[in-house]
Structure formats: C-alpha cells, structure tokens
C-alpha cells in the first residue's frame, strides 16, 4: 500500500479562494454572510491604489453594509471587518481579530496568503485578473520559481499529508499550465493561483531550507529571492528524487523529475535568472544571520554540501 500515513497530521486550508474574472462580485455576499456591516477597505493612496479601489466602490454592498475607505497605514477607528487591497509581501496583521479579506494584486514572496504573525489566515482571498498590478514576464517567472520552491519543499517535509499534497499538486499543475503563456494575463493568473497554493501548503507543512535562506538573503539585501531559489532548487530536486513526495507526484505527473528540471530552466530563461548563482553560493558566510532560524541546522548542512560541490 502506498501513501502510508505514518504520523498524525492536522491541516487548515485557511481562506476561501475566489479566483477568476468577476471574483470580486462575491465580496458583498461574503461580508453579508458573516454579518459584517462596516468593513474597512485599506489601500495605498497612490494612483494605482485609487484605480483599484474604484472597482470596490462600484460593488453593490446593500443598504446594511457601509465600507469605510482608508489607507493601509491608518485604518479607521471602528470597523468589523478588513478588506486589504493590494499585496505587501507578508501576510497582513490581524487588525484586532477582525475578519480579513485579501484582494491580491501582486506576488513578491508567495507568503502573502499564509498565516500572519498571530497565526491567523485571512477569511477569503480574491484573485481577479482585472485587479492585477502591471507585470512583466520576468516578474511572473520569478514568482513562479519562488512558488515552485515552496511547493517542492512541502513535499520534503515530515508534515506532508494528503491534503497538503493536493494543494501542492494543484500549485505545480498551475505553473506547468502557465509556463508557455507567462507573457499573458492568463499566465499571470495561473502563477497567482500557484502562489496561493504555495502559501497555504507551506503554512501547514513549514517553509523549507531554500525558501528560508531565500527570505533571509532577500531581507538582508544580499540576493534576490527568486535568484536564490533558482540557484538552490536543483539540489532540492536531487534530494526529492528519492523521497516519498516525489513518488506521490509521480502518480500524477509523467516523469516528474525531468519535467520539473525542464520547467525550472524554462522559467529561468523567461525570468532572466541565473546571474547571481555564483554569488549566492559564495554567500554561505552569511548564514550567521539566520543562525536562529528553525531551519538553521539544515541550511548549514545544505550550504556545506553546496560549497563542497561548487568549483
């Protein structure tokens, strides 16, 4: 029998996901269903923010619901729900426990839809292509590489389970399906779906060594997040090839290792990635900055392997 569940697991898929054109039309009902009457709509007060918020203003919220519009930094004093318009890289804070609704316009870290510092998921996430920020192919490809890293690392984690696997597979399938059309809005939307899957999966299984390292290097300004993922993901794939996660993926994707290697190369070309590869590997010395990370032991081991195999 395959797929042994050797361990107990818990899984929380987090938010309801509304994806596709006109997804936002569902927002008023979702507020109504939760009895929210005075939601704060938080957005950036720049030209792009004003453009996007116009779409929210045009929604019909009914007579019992009156949204209050404010900047993300200065929420109004009273609200019973929060609608965050835009992407901030990290999951938004808890806003005093008020139910939160995310309208995502961009993806920088693929952690936008994950548990926030208080361990809370948003109630609902909306992916409406009409609301995406202007994008280019390089940016979309970079997002795809970051999402792929989170997804593949979830297959390595002891906490992998059939529910997390389902999200992982869906995310990978979205990236595969989008790779040939990354220049288009359709491709961007497919990658956005993958990024949400990645955030939800990683919130349940944990963030792996490469994504943790990529986060640390990006935050400290040493290296671009997608570049780190691209430089180190082949080693994850090598290790994964002999692990149960890949065995499970093998049931759903033909020749998954080869397919994923090809996919990574395709994305790197589209994203212009690879320029920092040597620099990233040399950056092994910066591991002190992440010594407190829960993954630090694995990262140190990982980097020592890298240094050993790198000419």
């Amino acid at each position: 029998m395959n797929n042994s569940l050797r361990y107990s697991f818990s899984f929380h898929p987090g938010p309801s996901l509304f994806s596709g054109y006109h997804a936002l039309a569902q927002l008023p009902y979702e507020l109504h269903r939760r009895g929210i009457r005075r939601p704060a709509v938080l957005y950036r007060k720049d030209r792009e923010g004003e453009r996007l918020v116009k779409g929210i203003r045009n929604l019909s919220f009914g007579s019992q619901c009156t949204p209050v519009y404010a900047s993300y930094q200065e929420p109004p004093p009273e609200y019973d729900g929060v609608i965050v318009l835009g992407s901030h890289g990290d999951p938004p804070g808890s806003f005093h426990g008020a139910p939160m609704f995310l309208i995502l316009t961009d993806f920088q870290t693929c952690r936008e839809v994950s548990r926030n510092a208080e361990g809370i998921f948003p109630e609902a996430v909306f992916l409406d292509p009409s609301y995406y920020a202007p994008f280019n192919t390089e940016h979309t490809a970079a997002t795809a590489v970051i999402a792929l890293t989170l997804l593949l690392e979830s297959l390595q984690d002891d906490r992998m389970n059939p529910l997390s696997f389902s999200w992982t597979y869906s995310g990978i399938d979205h990236i595969i399906g989008s790779a040939d059309c990354l220049k288009t809005l359709e491709g961007r939307h497919g990658v956005a779906n993958a990024a949400v899957s990645a955030g939800i999966t990683a919130s349940n299984t944990g963030f792996g060594a490469v994504s943790t390292l990529a986060e640390a290097l990006a935050v400290s300004g040493f290296a671009d997040r997608a570049e780190t993922c691209y430089a180190l993901l082949p080693y994850v794939l090598d290790k994964l090839a002999s692990q149960e996660g890949m065995e499970q993926l093998n049931q759903f994707i033909e020749h998954p290792v080869t397919r994923l290697q090809q996919l990574l190369e395709q994305l790197s070309q589209l994203g212009g990635l690879g320029t920092q590869k040597q620099q990233i590997i040399t950056l092994a010395g910066c591991t002190r900055s992440i010594a407190d990370s829960p993954q630090s032991e694995e990262i140190m081991q990982f980097l020592s392997i890298l240094q050993g195999v790198t000419p």
């Binding site: 569940l5 107990s8 899984f11 596709g20 269903r33 939760r34 399938d173 059309c181 359709e186």
Partner: protein
C-alpha cells in the same frame, strides 16, 4: 492543464486533525473553538459499538470541559422533529457548541441543530435551499465513524421533513463544520459490507467532483488524491478490517472526496442514487457503487480526456501508460467495475452489483422493475443533475436505471443525448 481563467471558488475553512489517536486532540480543539460545554450528538449504534466510551473517557478527565451532555437517539433516517428535540436540549442545558460523533445521518442532523440554535425559530424548513444562511453559526466539530459521506467536510445537509417526509436540502459555506477529527479507531468496527458501500460512496463523490461541471483546480486535486487512496486501500480494509493504517487512509480519502464535491457538486450518479434511496430505502453507498460505472459511461463522451486521466489514479501509472489514449476513458469505467466486483467477492456477495440483487428479508428484490420510471421521474426534480456534464431526460434516466437494474451494458443507442459522438 491550462491556466484556469474562469471563475471558481474553493471553500474548506475547517481544521482537520487526523491520526491513529487523533481523538486525544479533542479537548484542545474544543477549547480553541470556545466549546467548553458541547452538546454531543450520536446514535444508538455508535454507542453500542463502544465508540462513545472513548470520547467520554477523554472528556471526563478535563476539568474545564462539561462533556456529559448527550443526545444519543438519532435514528438512521433522522428528521426535523429529532432536530427540534436536540435543539431544545441544547438550549435548556446552555451548551456552547455541537460535537457530532457518527455517520452522515448524525453529522447532517447536527448541522440542522446548528442552524436552529444559531438562527432561532422552530422550523428548520424555513432555512432550506442554497445560501439562505447568512450569518455565523455556533461552532461544530465532527468525528465521523464511517468513511464515505464526507459530511464532516461539506457545506450540505440533507434532512427529512417529518411533516411531509420530503427531503430538505440545505447548502451554505456556513454549514461546513469548524473542525473534523479523523481517528482510525472510529471505523475499526464497521462491518465489511458497510465499509465497502461507504467506500464506494466516497469514490462516487470524487469521480463526479472531477468530471462534473462545477469542478475547479483545487477540487480536482482533492478528488484525484481521494481516488488514489480509495483504490489502493478499500479492498485491503475489507480483507483486514483491523488494519488501522488502511482505516485512516479511507477516512482521509472520504474527507478529501467530501471536500471536493462540496466545492464542485455531483451529477447523475447521485441524482439517481438519491431517488432510488428515497423510493426503495436502499442504502446510499450501495446505490452509488452500482450506479457509478453507468453514470460514467453515460457521460464519457463529454469529457473523455478527464475520464482518461482517471485511469492513472484508478489503475496506476503503468496501466495508464500501457493503454492507448483513446482506450483510457473506457479503461477507467472498467477499473471501477473491477473494484466493485472485487468488493462483491471479498464480502461473499454482500456488496451487490445490480439493483435487482438487493433483497429484502424474504429474499425478494427491494426494487421492482416498475419502480424504474417512477424513480426516473423523481430524478428529474433532483437539482444535482444540473452539474452533470451531459443533459438528462426521462427516457435516458430510465435507460441508465434499467441497465443498472439488470446489470447489462448501457445501450448507447437508446440514450439520445448521452450517446457516443
């Protein structure tokens, strides 16, 4: 797959805890849901099987949790009167949440109680329909004791109206329980025939979720994983009922399939199954097992690629790769038939393969040929066929039922819309 541009929604906001001793997590879960005084709902069968002793023992040792408020008289075919009684107990005892321990009937009954105690009123029928429940409900946790309905993961409740004996359907994302505990010990005592029937119910959920019109990328993924787990595990559970690992896998598979169809809806197999069950009292899982290959055949031409993909998880990758692309859809149907036949053999015939083989105590078929047109007519009024990939008509439903009744292949020439194109 191409990027999914069409709108879809996937809702599954519940916390799932699974394991061989997952029930030990119950006290912590109740605390996190502010359910320090739950009304515990179950049925006499679950009690007799000793499963409630386990729940009692765990809750007894918790000083801050009142774990002895029970409602344990839920019959297999529960109704609105039972729900009103349970709601009365909830209010009188001042409970703060609901804990369902049982199969689909217990969990659906608990969902009904949840509606009444949260929204007030005496008549559950006032809330029937889709998305009529527009507020947060009291917390609810579910511990399923069968692996089939997946009700612990769904937004649906089907409850009989005691007044006119009609089935009332309720659908709302608010009905999805707050948490589910999947513990392998809870299904260990299930007899082989019930294990087989409920397992095939889960398979029907997954297959119809994957091929129906309401499918989406996440429900697809849940459905495929569920099917893979079911085909690799269900015969093993029948052969070795004490295999806890296999029991847990079936519980997880049923949960995945439930979540999948909760987001994508079902189709003709359930349309007919609901009506066969309502007219003749045949258990739902058995209806699903018998009707599934016929429903698949009926729909095959509408999404051959999807049915072909199912062969990969139904029969394994090597069979899939060895089978030519044009033969894969029929191969998937054959794989489902083969699984049902194997269950028939493993249960010494207790798992039937034709509708006419389901017998009453005197050995006569429960369903008679003259039931067929009546059931087909009933089925036209069942909304689940709206999500079926192929349209249905009375004649076609009769054709499918006749084939499933007598056990002969579906004659595609007699099916106007569902013929091979």
């Amino acid at each position: 797959m191409t990027a999914h541009r069409n709108f879809y929604r996937f809702t599954s906001p519940l916390l799932t805890v699974a394991g061989h001793d997952a029930l030990e997590e119950l006290p912590g879960l109740l605390r996190s849901l502010d359910m320090l005084h739950p009304l515990i709902l179950t049925d006499p069968g679950v009690r007799r099987a000793g499963l409630m002793d386990m729940v009692s023992a765990i809750l007894k040792s918790q000083e801050d949790i009142i774990g002895d408020t029970w409602f344990d008289q839920i019959p297999p075919d529960s109704d609105t009167d039972i729900i009103a009684q349970a709601a009365q107990v909830y209010r009188e005892k001042g409970c703060t949440g609901l804990l369902a321990v049982g199969g689909g009937s217990v969990i659906d009954t608990t969902k009904g109680v949840r509606i009444l105690v949260s929204l007030g009123g005496e008549h559950l029928r006032d809330y029937q329909g889709a998305d009529t429940i527009s507020s947060q409900l009291v917390p609810m946790a579910a511990v399923p004791t069968t692996s089939g309905t997946g009700s612990e993961a769904t937004l649906v409740a089907v409850i009989k109206d005691a007044r006119n004996k009609r089935k009332l359907a309720f659908t709302s994302p608010s009905l999805i329980p707050s948490a589910a505990i999947l513990d392998s010990r809870m299904t260990l005592t299930l007899p082989p025939a019930i294990t087989a029937a409920t397992g095939m119910d889960a398979l029907a959920h997954a297959v119809e979720a994957y091929t129906g019109l309401g499918r989406n990328p996440i429900s697809d993924s849940y459905a495929l994983k569920a099917i893979e787990l079911i085909v690799s595990t269900l015969p093993e559970v029948i052969e070795h009922p004490d295999n806890q690992e296999a029991r847990l896998q079936m519980a997880v598979a049923s949960h995945l399939a439930g979540s999948a169809f909760s987001n994508s809806m079902v189709g003709i197999v359930h349309t007919l199954g609901h009506c066969v069950g309502a007219r003749c009292g045949i258990p739902h899982g058995i209806c699903m097992s018998i009707l599934l290959p016929y429903g698949m055949t009926y729909n095959l031409h509408r999404c051959r690629e999807r049915f072909g993909k199912l062969l990969q998880v139904l029969s394994g990758k090597s069979v899939y790769l060895e089978t030519s692309e044009d033969k894969r859809p029929e191969g998937a149907v054959a794989a489902v038939k083969a699984l049902a036949s194997r269950l028939h053999m493993l249960t010494d015939g207790a798992h039937p393969l034709r509708l006419r083989d389901i017998l009453d105590r005197s050995g006569h078929p429960i369903m008679k040929p003259q039931h067929i047109p009546v059931i087909a007519s009933d089925a036209l009024g069942d909304p689940s066929h709206l999500y079926n990939p192929e349209e249905v008509s009375l004649d076609e439903l009769i054709s499918v039922l006749r084939a499933a009744y007598w056990g002969y292949p579906l004659d595609k020439d007699l099916v106007k819309l569902g013929h091979q194109k």
